[in-house]
Symmetry: C2
Subunit: 307 residues, 2 copies
Amino acid sequence: MKRVERAAVNVWMVGSIGIDAIMTRTAERKNLMGGSLPFSTAASSFFARTGAVGVVGSDFPVSFDQRWASFGIDLQGVQRKEGPTFRWACKYDDNMIERTTLMTELGVFADFMPRLPDSFRRAPFVLLGNIQPELQLHVLNQSVGAKFVALDTMNLWIEIARPALRKVVRRVDLLTLNDGEARMLTGKWNLCDCADVILKMGPKFVVIKKGEHGALLFSKKGIFIVPAFPVRKLVDPTGAGDSYAGAFMGYLARAGRVTEGFMREALVYASAVASFGVEGFSLDRFERLTAVEISLRVKALKRMMDV
Amino acid sequence: MKRVERAAVNVWMVGSIGIDAIMTRTAERKNLMGGSLPFSTAASSFFARTGAVGVVGSDFPVSFDQRWASFGIDLQGVQRKEGPTFRWACKYDDNMIERTTLMTELGVFADFMPRLPDSFRRAPFVLLGNIQPELQLHVLNQSVGAKFVALDTMNLWIEIARPALRKVVRRVDLLTLNDGEARMLTGKWNLCDCADVILKMGPKFVVIKKGEHGALLFSKKGIFIVPAFPVRKLVDPTGAGDSYAGAFMGYLARAGRVTEGFMREALVYASAVASFGVEGFSLDRFERLTAVEISLRVKALKRMMDV
């Protein structure tokens, strides 16, 4: 599935690209390739020919480009700008769940204006990763072939860009967000109520992510509950939600169409892939991840859900 | 299944019996039948002939006895003592998850010395509900027929009675506790690690409850992940864990033997039954709950888990 070079992109994703510094209870790592886009596209690359849309600065290491390209991702949509790459530093609590952002420097990300390469314009699957809602809309408007659009967002945009966010939400087929964000966006506490409100905003599907507790898919067809794969060796949870969304969209893009059945399969695959991602820093674990490992973990997860 | 009077008890449960006062965001109720035992036995009564072992004071209302007995539960093991019944008051946060205990008065529960009625002694299934570990051991020693013993506990006993608790843990087949308690008992954070440690303490099975996120069953056979049924109308979460444990044991008692398959079914049934319990205060919802409703919710939950 991986490294299908030169084939047309069937899913493209936009998001942030950064250089991260991360502290956990047991380790401290600097100069990691981070941001939402490397995680989402790498996870997607296990399933489909994936295109990346983002921006990096002049300090973005060539080695990062090489490692990223090694997933067979089409990087034509990644702009190179004069100036520093987006930088982010965080420190995890001992429980590896809560984290404190120590530093955010937007760099060239501050003036990011996404431009869709011509070869991406006809791709049927689109993941609008976590960037300003206005920019998500701007790049979506450049797409003529989009058949199924998923949107990821974060608390920041719910707080400071709600009207623009609502505009994008109306345009997409699926909204994915975490439980806290779903509550913030809707003003409801019960996740079923949150989903009801969101489904009225436009999307046909909502995926509410609950971190180590898994995720819930809501649609007119009902609810699907997918657990997180229980990870024994949690190294760094950064990017798990992005890997989740990326693998999910990659799986659908490979399937080529969206049915309740494919959707459920896609979520199980996403759970498996995301669980590998957190076993290493940055894309470390993904770089040595094989299709066989994914398939075995999917089987294991299905056994854990089987009654 | 319910109200099979006079048949021999095939599961008995010990636990606390109280009179509760509960405040939620939208309601305040006093003089509720509470404690772990009413919830666990009522939930179990939908599946098996259930016996209760506990103590009440002279102020325990006759109406409570009648409502409790209406589930067909054998109340021979419930002692009547001079003095006040155990009383407990709590207030839930707006999210209905965190709660603050406002008052605890042990009353006759302080000197509780459980005594197993002769007719319970040969019952094969036993749930040692949340009371002092010494008393759990004391009453377990009176049982000659116990084939499968489950133990529920709480943070208090982990803190103040750890050696005694460890003694009981060694004697039981299954330990059920919530995620926080599992971490407290084992000193591990990762729930897989917690389960490893507990399985080495004696039990062949561990069920780690995660409230609205469901539960995990660990055994040598692997992991089973069961979600909580998404409740739309949460009225009062008090007793949910006790209902869960009770329904689980009732289901196994009806099955008559413990296999991985029955165990998984039992957990799905427990999830369904517990989800009804929180739709009302005390046993209100259980009192009008039918076997058909349980069966429909089990089907719905299985659909939500089906991939």
